[in-house]
């Protein structure tokens, strides 16, 4: 009797393991092994969570916002929890450019991931000086221009709400560096696409959508605002549906990649953003709650692509088709 099993055709490999290259993304002249970045202000300078995080699984780390001079930050209390969200008014406490170059930048060539410097200035001159300095940092994979921090009285958000100021900041940065320039937008505007287009027109390589929403809470017992600064920026799952809408709109308005940042806790959240048109995603508040969130989301995206026989490129903006 013939062996019938042998005659059976080889089962078709319908779901090939996505090749590693499927997850590679390109921003400007740099490529990243996967689309999952650690959001600025939620991963320090990259050297706090070495015990818990496998850096080789991160597409990139984005540093805490760096300014020319060290900043003490805002008075306390600086954080208050809200339903599925976190409001913060850290005020860009950071060690300043000098200490960054001396103590942190030298660690980066040895890391198993790439580092993007998030920089913040109160004038074009400060942004320029920071950009020039970052140009000289070995192994840096890009610069994220923070024109959108809601927690500083001077500068920051003022650039991000004004298309002309945005144009100036990006134009200057572009003329000074070949590194990828990512512009981090603020959601605290009526129409984000206007600022997005201004940044894209000046040669930005990608846009981060977005920073946090201005918000507040009141301590009813003490009858005063819960934060010392009254207002702070809200992050976390509470803001996801709003940022998702903005990612959809911005990615329809510009041709450059959009990096989503807002409330991503799970693979499902990440998939929504990719389907809305994001090329990459940032994990922020989720890392506070689960330092391994980025790993779990990377594995989840791989699984999803495999079981649906899709590439990452197929997925980006897929919800807009048809």
């Amino acid at each position: 009797m013939p062996d019938s099993t042998k005659r059976h055709p080889e089962p078709q490999q319908r779901h090939p393991e996505p090749k590693a290259k499927d997850l590679i993304i390109q921003i400007g002249n740099q490529s990243f092994t996967n689309p999952i970045f650690m959001a600025s202000g939620t991963f320090g300078y990259g050297d706090d969570l070495t015990d818990l995080v496998d850096y080789s699984k991160l597409g990139a780390i984005i540093t805490k916002g760096i300014s020319l001079e060290p900043r003490a930050g805002n008075p306390t209390p600086r954080i208050i929890e809200t339903s599925a969200g976190l409001i913060n008014s850290i005020g860009l406490q950071n060690i300043g450019l000098k200490a960054f170059l001396k103590d942190k930048a030298p660690l980066y060539p040895k890391l198993k991931t790439r580092v993007i410097a998030n920089i913040f200035g109160t004038s074009i001159e400060e942004f320029n000086e920071l950009t020039d300095a970052m140009n000289r940092v070995e192994a840096l994979a890009g610069i994220e221009l923070n024109i959108s921090c809601p927690n500083v009285k001077k500068g920051g958000v003022e650039f991000g709400v004004d298309p002309k100021a945005t144009t100036e900041v990006v134009k200057n940065a572009r003329s000074r560096t070949k590194l990828p320039i990512i512009v981090k937008l603020t959601p605290n505007v009526t129409d984000m696409t206007i600022i997005a287009k201004a940044a894209a027109d000046e040669g930005a390589d990608a846009l981060t959508v977005s920073n946090t929403f201005l918000s507040m809470r009141i301590d009813v017992l003490k009858r005063r605002p819960s934060l010392a600064t009254t207002f702070g920026g809200i992050s976390g799952p509470a803001i996801l549906p709003i940022i998702l809408r903005q990612v959809w709109q911005v990615s329809s308005a510009v041709k450059i990649p959009v990096i989503a940042s807002g409330g991503i806790m799970t693979t499902h959240d990440a998939l929504e953003y990719l389907m809305a048109g994001a090329t990459a995603i940032q994990i922020g508040t989720a890392t506070y709650i689960n330092p391994k969130a980025a790993h779990e989301i990377l594995a989840g995206i791989k699984d999803y692509l495999t079981s649906n026989n899709l590439t990452l490129q197929d997925l980006i903006g897929i919800a807009k088709e048809g």
């Binding site: 320090g44 003490a72 930050g73 600086r78 339903s83 799952p237 709650i289």
Partner: protein, 262 residues
Amino acid sequence: MLQFSSLILSNDEIAPHYFHMVLKAPISSYLPGQFVMIKVNNTNIPLLRRAMAILSWRDEELEIVYKAIGLGTKELSKRAPGEKLEVIGPLGNSYEIPDGLGHAYMITGGVGMSPLMPLARALTKKRIKTTLFFGGASVTDLVMRHEFSDLGVMVIPVTMDGSLGKRGLVTDVMEEGFKATKPDPQNDMVFTCGPHAMMRKVYEIAGKYGLKTQVSMETRMACGTGVCLGCVIKNKNGSYLRACTEGPVYYGEEIDWNARLD
């Protein structure tokens, strides 16, 4: 620092609103004053983990004590043995036991006793004379006081309602005690954990007698791992240090006590 999923072995109400929880946890060495961050359920409400001082962490068992007062701790009180919780720890710095320490004075109120338990264990093991001024609204707030006595700690209970020990404020009783016994500023030291106002008073009284005070600060924490800068304590020099990383234990004189914390 470890991140693990932990089986609840017990979660008992040991006094009204006070819970003692035992978790199965991988072996870890920790220091008195360190804490863990616990996710009280697997939903986004509350979103953040809660900081809990380590009462004990031995033989793969991690113990905490908490008071069910708010969203997170009330949620924690509903967890049953057999359920699992996400834990990160041990975190933060610790109380320091200086060489040649003479007499250790511990002052606490309510659930602030928790990080003082491993400290008391370390002190009594070194045969350092240890006194605990233990304050609370009522006798039921002085949880685990017998465990302190069993270690050989001299426990001085103080209650607002007089239901146990002296009636009044624990800081007043501490001051009376210092007036009577005259601690030695060279060799004795004060260790405290509890409400902010109490710790400030403790620091001031200790200062009057020339004693240094180690305080464990309670602040709002988002991450517990050093990456959010939400938990900072304002220092005398105007800089902000992370309570989860450079703290939670500070020397009283480092702190700007006028800065708002909550």
